[in-house]
């Protein structure tokens, strides 16, 4: 499939698709751990992806020291008050008995704490966002190599999942889905609006890379030698011709993308190995039992809630890794681009298409789904152009269709999901039934 695109469109396009297929595979493996292993309907996949992306920014971006110096004190005060409020609330919660008095005093403490926190928060954010708003206006990050953020993104997503799990695990599936969807939306609106943290909709661009830049490649000797060797030209002779120059640039793109593919492939394979091992172990057996029948699993001594929490956290961590990888590949963090259709429900389609409970299935599902998602647009454009036959080229209908061709993918995705659910409910690679 990808090879067809490689020859048909270009290798750069094919590799770009491949890289996103690999990232999607990580996401769908993460969701598969939650849904396929344990039957958790997580409709907040997007939250993990986004926090992974944010981590990539916070790890790799240079710290904005000026922002720290102007906003640091207020920020510190804010944190002090946050801890203070929380500990007082916790204290009241532990000491006093349930009742009106307790609820009232807790509410009062939170209100007072809020007033103070709000004061310092306003002060801090105002100061921070004033620092060169066109370039920074946020706290920046740690200035570490971005590749560290892949692991950090996993941890951050795990932490977030712990909090989300506290709120919403233990609810029945419908509720859990709605709750996770809601939290993920809130998460995105925080990223969009808390400029001091993520620059909000102003986006963070120009993140550092774990792989070489095209420009540097074009300068390096080994690269030039390689390309000239590949095209069978002798030393420096035709280096200046335009054709070769163009090839150079294309090859540089290909090399960079291949480097990414290599890194991503390592991640995919590592996670795959662990995921398969876990599924085929007593742990996996227990998870599947919980998925099949929570009541019975609980009667057989398994702590369903804590196991759900565990699997929710692990799955989210995997998705968080993918989120950091995605931001690394893009080189930028754009909170506005996170929408549930693309970052939650599309991943669902991948898992269900590939086969819930099967790790390889999740990867295959991710590849197919992402391929269709990307290629639906050119395909439908091609279709529209070829029905020109019946209409004049500039008829309003054709123009309209050309304009909306990208949206064909939505219908295709929906159809794919419905057809799989109906005629192949176990997906392409069904779960292996016995150990």
């Amino acid at each position: 499939m990808l090879a067809v695109v490689g020859f048909g469109q270009s290798w750069n396009v094919a590799l770009a698709i491949l890289n996103l297929c690999l990232i999607s595979s990580v996401m769908s493996m993460g969701l598969n751990i939650q849904w396929g292993y344990a039957g958790l309907f997580n409709a907040g996949v997007m939250a993990s992806t986004a926090i992974g992306g944010l981590t990539a920014v916070l790890i790799s971006h240079m710290p904005v020291s000026k922002a720290w110096s102007v906003g640091g004190t207020s920020l510190f005060a804010l944190i002090v008050f946050l801890i203070l409020t929380l500990s007082v609330v916790f204290f009241i919660f532990k000491i006093f008995k349930r009742g009106r008095k307790r609820s009232f005093s807790i509410a009062l403490v939170i209100l007072i704490g809020y007033v103070f926190m709000r004061f310092y928060y306003d002060q801090a954010t105002f100061a921070i966002e004033q620092v060169e708003p066109a370039k920074t206006g946020f706290l920046g990050g740690l200035g570490l190599p971005i590749i560290f953020s892949w692991a950090a993104g996993g941890f951050a997503a795990a932490g977030l999942a712990w909090i989300i799990g506290r709120i919403s695990l233990g609810l029945r599936s419908d509720y859990f889905a709605i709750a996770t969807l809601g939290i993920s939306e809130i998460m995105i609106s925080i990223l969009k609006n808390e400029d001091w943290l993520s620059r909000g909709v102003k986006n963070v661009t120009g993140l550092s890379r774990p792989v070489p830049y095209e420009v540097d490649l074009l300068q390096s000797e080994w690269f030039i030698n390689m390309v000239t060797w590949l095209y069978g030209v002798t030393d420096g002779e035709i280096v200046k011709t335009d054709v070769l120059r163009e090839e150079m640039q294309l090859s540089a793109g290909v090399i960079v993308k291949l480097c990414y593919s290599g890194l991503f492939l390592i991640v995919v394979l590592t996670i795959l190995i662990f995921a398969v091992r876990a599924l085929n172990s007593p742990w996996g057996r227990m998870m599947r039992a919980i998925r099949d029948n929570e009541t019975a699993a609980s009667a057989m001594g398994k702590d369903v809630t804590s196991r759900h929490r565990q699997v929710f956290i692990i799955g989210s961590a995997v998705i968080g890794i993918a989120g950091a990888m995605l931001t690394t590949l893009d080189g930028q963090f754009t909170p506005g681009s996170y929408i549930p259709l693309r970052f939650t429900f599309l991943i669902w389609i991948m898992v269900i298409l590939g086969g819930s409970g099967n790790n390889l299935g999740a990867i295959i599902g991710a590849f197919i789904t992402w391929f269709v998602w990307i290629e639906a647009e050119p395909a439908s454009l091609w279709l529209v152009e070829n029905i020109d036959f019946f209409f004049t080229t500039n008829s309003p209908l054709i123009l309209h269709l050309k304009e909306v061709a990208p949206h064909m993918r939505m219908i295709l995705m929906g159809l794919m999901l419905l057809l799989v659910l109906r005629f192949m409910p176990k997906g392409i690679l069904p779960e292996k039934s016995s150990s």
């Binding site: 091992r277 876990a278 099949d292 029948n293 009667a299 016995s434």
Partner: protein
């Protein structure tokens, strides 16, 4: 073994269990009977921790276990089966049994990933035990079948088998014989008797089949309308006027409706 003290449970306005006191003696097979809607299954759910009583307390071996979760009760030696089979339908019969033993090394994620040798050794032991249980239950042919594909009676047998994977102090059986054909019912009865005699399990069971009850249970407790109506040997119960009236009266009421 288990003592239930003045337990009350209501759902909305309906009182399902209304101040029940009951004892399940160690080593006994206690039968719990009563007309439909008497509150038997609710009482079982209360004992097994699936629901929490509004009033009263439940003791297991003298320890107050009111409000504990089912999995906590499991670790204290209380196991149950369900009226409607609760098998793990996408797991094989063997896996259904093998998932039961607690504290398996491979059940912690780290153990599963990094202590593989020990896990394999432990799995072998557990599998051997599971195979013993399977042959005890005469289910040898079905060992690798998905539990979801079993017949209703076989599912009940499998649930009974799950309780044999550990050494429970007390097993509560909710209509283990319902919907099971005669010959299989006899097998189940034999299994229960031998588990009781040879392994010393204590049982408490809800059952409708009086022959089955007479054969296995002593004592028999009768519930009606959320209360304990009578207690005694199967013969005593059969002759008890109040009990007969509770069944018949219910029947008459049904007819009037």
């Amino acid at each position: 073994m288990i003592s239930v003290k003045n337990v009350v449970k209501h759902f909305g306005g309906v009182v399902a269990v209304d101040g029940v006191d009951m004892k399940i003696e160690s080593g006994s097979i206690t039968g719990l009977i009563g007309p439909n809607g008497a509150g038997k299954t609710t009482l079982f759910n209360l004992i097994a921790g699936n629901i929490v009583p509004n009033e009263g307390s439940i003791f297991l071996d003298g320890e107050n276990v009111t409000g504990l979760k089912p999995h906590e009760l499991f670790s204290k030696g209380l196991l149950r089966t369900f009226q409607i089979s609760h098998e793990f339908h996408t797991l094989s019969v063997l896996d259904n049994l093998m998932m039961v033993p607690p504290m398996q090394i491979g059940e912690s994620l780290l153990g599963a990933l990094f202590r593989r040798k020990e896990v394999v050794r432990q799995e072998d032991e557990i599998q051997k035990k599971a195979k013993d249980v399977i042959s005890f239950l005469n289910m040898g042919k079905m060992a690798n079948e998905l539990a979801g594909n079993l017949s209703g009676g076989q599912k009940k047998l499998l649930e009974l088998g799950r309780t044999m994977m550990v050494e429970p102090k007390v097993v509560i059986l909710d209509e283990v014989g319902a919907g099971v054909n005669r010959s299989l019912l006899k097998e189940i009865g034999d299994a229960i008797l031998s588990m009781n005699r040879d392994r010393g399990y204590t049982f408490c069971m809800i059952e409708h089949d009086m022959d089955f009850i007479s054969r296995l249970c002593s004592p028999v407790v009768v519930m009606a309308e959320g209360k304990i109506l009578a207690e005694g040997s199967a013969d005593q119960i059969k002759r008890n006027e109040e009990v007969i009236e509770a069944y018949l009266g219910k029947g008459l009421k049904n007819k009037q409706n």
